[in-house]
């Protein structure tokens, strides 16, 4: 055993190959840039969808709102400033290749340091308080980040950054449905949640729905659903159909852009599923405003 341990200690893979190494300094710089870029440039699929709905919106006021939203993301890019002042909780999805070795320090510290530098050097707002209930004092550097790790095959490090604003996050919801509630139960819950949220989450919104798992899995996959490019349906035909139907129904609620009334309440409904317990049908809804920021890098 000691011999085997030693051979692992010098970073030999099976067959005697050296493990790929990455220094934390590289990760820190990459995360810093990721924080700034994601907050300034809206993803192309979101831009395309906003422009598409600008053409079809029935309400004249709603149309004007969408026009201003388009103008806003253009100004942000031109002036190199954040699209929205709520530059969010720094949420990361990290896929760590099991054959990659991090050197110079630990990965979570490196991500937090990248956030610290990005939010300072990018003039982004620091929106995190240290203690949720009692002190609520701003941490001053937008840390801690929230990091979801996944260990995957290979020797790469994939980092997705998705800053999340408070206004839309506050309108999110979780309900433990009964299996008998089925598809109708899910639809009812989504429509009720969006209707109740009204103008609060800055419509037009993107709706992430997580169905199945345990409560933490349902909420996590609801958030992951927000990262899927708009226009890419769920691979399971029944779920893809449900996404389409829900989007259609949500846009009949009348809330419209910014809640002033109209036909564009949501740009997309994305559903992710996970196997469930025989007793359970957990459903989580994560609401995302039109400033649907996320950016991915691979190191």
């Amino acid at each position: 055993m000691p011999l085997l341990y030693f051979s692992r200690g010098v970073n030999l893979l099976e067959g005697g190959k050296h493990m790929r190494e990455i220094h934390i300094d590289e990760i820190i710089s990459a995360v810093e840039k990721l924080c700034i870029d994601a907050n300034i440039i809206l993803p192309d699929d979101v831009k395309r969808e906003i422009n598409k709905y600008y053409e079809t919106e029935s309400s004249p006021l709603g149309k004007e709102v969408l026009k201003d939203i388009i103008k806003n993301y253009k100004i942000a890019e031109e002036k190199n400033i954040p699209i929205c002042q709520d530059t969010g909780f720094a949420v990361f999805f990290v896929k760590l290749g099991q054959d990659l070795k991090i050197v110079g320090g630990n990965l979570t510290d490196a991500i937090n340091e990248g956030v610290r530098r990005g939010y300072k050097n990018g003039y982004l707002r620091k929106s995190i308080v240290n203690d949720p209930l009692i002190h609520r004092k701003n941490t001053g550097d937008n840390t801690p980040a929230i990091v979801h790790y996944e260990i995957v095959p290979g020797d790469k490090l994939q980092i997705t950054f998705a800053p999340k604003g408070g206004g839309s996050e506050n309108m999110s919801a979780l309900r433990m449905l009964k299996p008998a509630d089925g598809v109708e139960g899910v639809k009812k819950f989504v429509l009720e949640t969006v209707d109740k949220a009204g103008s609060n989450p800055c419509p037009p919104i993107i709706i992430g729905v997580g169905i199945g798992g345990t409560i933490e899995v349902a909420t996590l996959i609801a958030k992951k659903a927000l990262l899927r490019p708009i226009g890419q349906p769920h691979p399971q035909p029944e779920i893809a159909e449900l996404e389409k139907e829900l989007l259609n129904e949500v846009n009949k609620l009348g809330i419209g852009p910014q809640g002033f009334g109209g036909t564009t309440t949501a740009l997309a409904v994305h559903i992710e599923t996970f196997p469930a317990h025989i007793a359970s049908l957990p459903v989580a809804i994560n609401i995302q405003c039109h400033v649907a920021r996320h950016k991915e890098i691979e190191l």
């Binding site: 309400s59 806003n72 190199n80 400033i81 002042q85 707002r125 408070g166 206004g167 800055c202 009348g254």
Partner: protein, 183 residues
């Protein structure tokens, strides 16, 4: 039609504003969000003098991004107004006449708006870069230790907003939704 209005708000200006009107606001507005509201509320309750005189003024529910060197302010769009609902009726009672934010208000706030003839505006949530363009001067006037939640005095020129709840309690969010609802 777009109405150009100047702060502070007089009864005549407020009388003329109806839910759904588009306005361009020029003059001084004060930013205040969660933490600043809590402090203002507690100061009123203790009978202390407020750091800003709210009579006839507008509060903008906003916490801006820091200003890049050579600029007035960073992105500065509205935050969700509903979180200020527990504090707002008292501020209106003390003379506050206008609020700019986004999202729904409680019945207590709507009642206070009607009783004291105030007005609630919405700015476009998520349009912080566009709105920052209308802020010509920005200065922290209270609670600097709150960082982005400090009270700023903003000098705005043609700040675009929509009247959501007018002095009679008409609510654009309700009217607009009913007009386009198909289920």
């Amino acid at each position: 039609m777009i109405k150009s209005i100047k702060t502070p708000l007089t009864p005549e200006i407020i009388d003329d504003l109806k839910a759904g009107d588009k306005v361009l606001i020029t003059g001084i507005i004060y930013s205040a969000r969660d933490a600043a509201h809590k402090r203002l509320y507690e100061m009123i309750q203790k009978g202390e003098e407020l750091p800003v005189d709210l009579k006839g003024q507008i509060i903008y529910y906003a916490g801006p991004c820091p200003a890049k060197p050579g600029t007035v302010i960073g992105s500065a769009g509205p935050t969700t107004s509903g979180r200020m609902d527990p504090y707002t009726p008292l501020l209106i009672e003390k003379g506050l006449k206008g609020m700019i934010g986004k999202g729904l208000r409680s019945k207590e706030v709507v009642d206070a708006i009607i009783t004291h003839k105030a007005v609630y505006f919405a700015a476009i949530g998520g349009a912080g870069a566009l709105l920052a363009d209308t802020i010509k001067k920005a200065e922290v006037v209270a609670f600097p230790e709150l960082g982005p939640e400090a009270i700023y005095e903003f000098h705005v020129e043609d700040f675009p907003a929509i009247v959501v709840i007018d002095k009679d309690g008409n609510d654009l969010y309700k009217i607009g939704k009913e007009n386009y609802r198909k289920i």
